[in-house]
């Protein structure tokens, strides 16, 4: 992610019809990887992550004109990506024949089915452990653990209090640790 132009400058260029597409391309290049990995950790498969990521940037294209800049662009993008993930997973649950309480096993099966899956490696076990968490808790854990997002920023992404996020993260860590030690 080598883009150095500040977000404010990108937004100004986006609002100018002459430079709109160029600015949007720069925004995509700046944030695509971060958003992709955030999505991928939630949906597991690359094809699903690709679908969701495209949805996210379509929404960004349609909504960036009205972005109020009361939060960072990064926070706003993460919020859209998180909501799209949750919507996508809800859709998958509805389409799936599995009962709702077994929907997490669908994502676990996808992990196990990955070409590079190695059950002996702790990194893969960690992915399986993460999928056991409830959706919101999964998001909190991945944002904190992988993206190293401060609670203050996370509260704006997820519209939840910092205290609740902290508690959620602590519970998630304990659950993951139990899973890794017992499996």
């Amino acid at each position: 992610m080598g883009v150095t132009i500040q977000d404010t400058e990108l937004l100004l260029q986006f609002r100018d019809p002459a430079t709109k597409e160029k600015a949007f391309t720069a925004i995509i290049k700046k944030y695509q990887e971060k958003l992709y990995w955030h999505i991928r950790r939630m949906v597991v498969e690359h094809e699903d992550a690709n679908d969701v990521l495209q949805n996210v940037f379509i929404r960004v294209w349609n909504g960036l004109e009205n972005f109020r800049e009361d939060s960072q662009l990064y926070t706003w993008l993460y919020r859209i990506a998180t909501n799209e993930c949750l919507s996508y997973l809800d859709q998958q649950k509805r389409k799936s024949s599995l009962p709702l309480d077994e929907s997490e096993s669908g994502l676990s099966n996808k992990i196990v089915a990955d070409k590079y899956f190695d059950p002996n490696k702790l990194e893969w076990k960690l992915q399986l452990a993460i999928q056991q968490l409830p959706e919101k808790q999964r998001i909190v854990f991945t944002l904190r653990y992988y993206d190293e997002m401060p609670y203050e920023q996370m509260s704006r992404v997820l519209d939840t209090s910092e205290g609740a996020l902290k508690a959620s993260y602590h519970h998630a860590v304990k659950k993951i640790e139990d899973y890794i030690l017992n499996h």
């Binding site: 597409e21 949007f24 391309t25 995509i28 290049k29 695509q32 990887e33 992709y36 990995w37 991928r40 950790r41 597991v44 690359h46 690709n50 679908d51 990521l53 495209q54 949805n55 940037f57 379509i58 929404r59 294209w61 799209e84 919507s87 990955d114 070409k115 590079y116 899956f117 190695d118 490696k121 702790l122 990194e123 893969w124 960690l126 992915q127 904190r144 653990y145 992988y146 190293e148 401060p150 602590h170 860590v173 304990k174 993951i176 640790e177 890794i180 030690l181």
Partner: protein, 302 residues
């Protein structure tokens, strides 16, 4: 950097097991991304936003196209557009579908239906859509409601005339815009009932005070004639020796007791003093007294 250290410290304090898991892989996860994915992704999105240009018939293309792709493409795109419009109306988020994805799905569900041409059989009048846009554009300027002719011309004068009318009540004076005098409201006095309650409460309190005072006055030991008689009757039962010994007893710790001990009545008296004190008392009464209170010390009498 500070935040990163804080997060690492936090994780270490919660779980050394998870903290020890290696995060050397890209973005910390073991997942793999297709080669060149991120390089091509921005172009993919921009092409989608601009609308992909379909290859012209006969145009040489180095790429392979799945069989029957173009036959179902137009229908697939129209379905996506209609689906996107209906989702916009319902307020839900539009979904991006790969071109022909709907056709593929239908083919999997029902090959028979997928073979039927999905062209709508209805016909629109010739030139309908080309004329529609100007009509719709013109509607934006047309006001929805009608206003009586000359309304705005006379409005300012009417308001000025109303403001100039003199106010007759304080309410109107404070609010000159008010023209109609409101009908006076019927006044219902509530004072009588309140006064009656006050007097009743005062009478009850007075009766209570008097009753309590009377009861306290009747209790023995209080000042008053009845109390004095009771005290005298009680004292008759007490012997002289006890009365004399009372000031010297250990139970007395009050200043009054000191006063009593220093009083004349408790001082030692000799016979001459007694004689002088009892000089006026007849002998008969003295004898009677001695008979009633037997055991008393012989007192010198006249």
């Amino acid at each position: 950097m500070k935040v990163k250290n804080e997060i690492s410290e936090e994780l270490r304090s919660l779980s050394t097991v998870i903290d020890g898991i290696s995060r050397d892989t890209p973005q910390g996860t073991p997942y793999v991304v297709p080669v060149g994915y991120f390089n091509d992704f921005p172009d993919l999105i921009m092409r989608h936003l601009r609308g992909a240009r379909l290859p012209e018939k006969g145009e040489a293309s180095p790429f392979q196209v799945p069989e029957g792709y173009f036959e179902g493409l137009a229908a697939g795109i129209m379905d996506r557009i209609k689906k996107g419009q209906s989702e916009d109306i319902q307020g839900s988020n539009p979904q991006v579908a790969v071109a022909g994805g709907v056709a593929e799905e239908l083919a999997q569900l029902s090959p028979l239906l997928s073979r039927i041409d999905r062209k709508t059989p209805y016909q629109a009048p010739e030139g309908y859509f080309s004329e529609l846009a100007p009509i719709l554009a013109g509607l934006q300027d047309k006001p929805l409601y009608e206003v009586p002719q000359g309304y705005f011309d006379g409005l300012a004068g009417e308001i000025a005339a109303k403001l100039k009318q003199p106010a007759s009540t304080p309410m109107e004076r404070s609010s000159p815009a008010m023209v109609e005098r409101p009908a006076p409201a019927k006044v219902i006095t509530m004072g009588r009932n309140r006064v009656w309650w006050k007097y009743s409460a005062a009478a009850v309190v007075a009766a209570l005070v008097l009753t309590i005072g009377w009861l306290r006055l009747q209790v023995p030991g209080h000042t008053g004639n009845g109390g004095t008689v009771d005290i005298a009757n009680s004292l008759i039962k007490v012997s002289d020796q006890d009365i004399q010994n009372y000031p010297d007893s250990d139970n007395i710790n009050t200043p009054l007791a000191e006063t009593v001990t220093n009083s004349t009545a408790t001082l030692d008296m000799d016979d001459s003093d007694v004689k002088s004190l009892l000089g006026d008392v007849p002998d008969g009464e003295l004898k009677q007294y001695m008979e009633e209170h037997g055991g008393a010390k012989d007192v010198a009498t006249n």
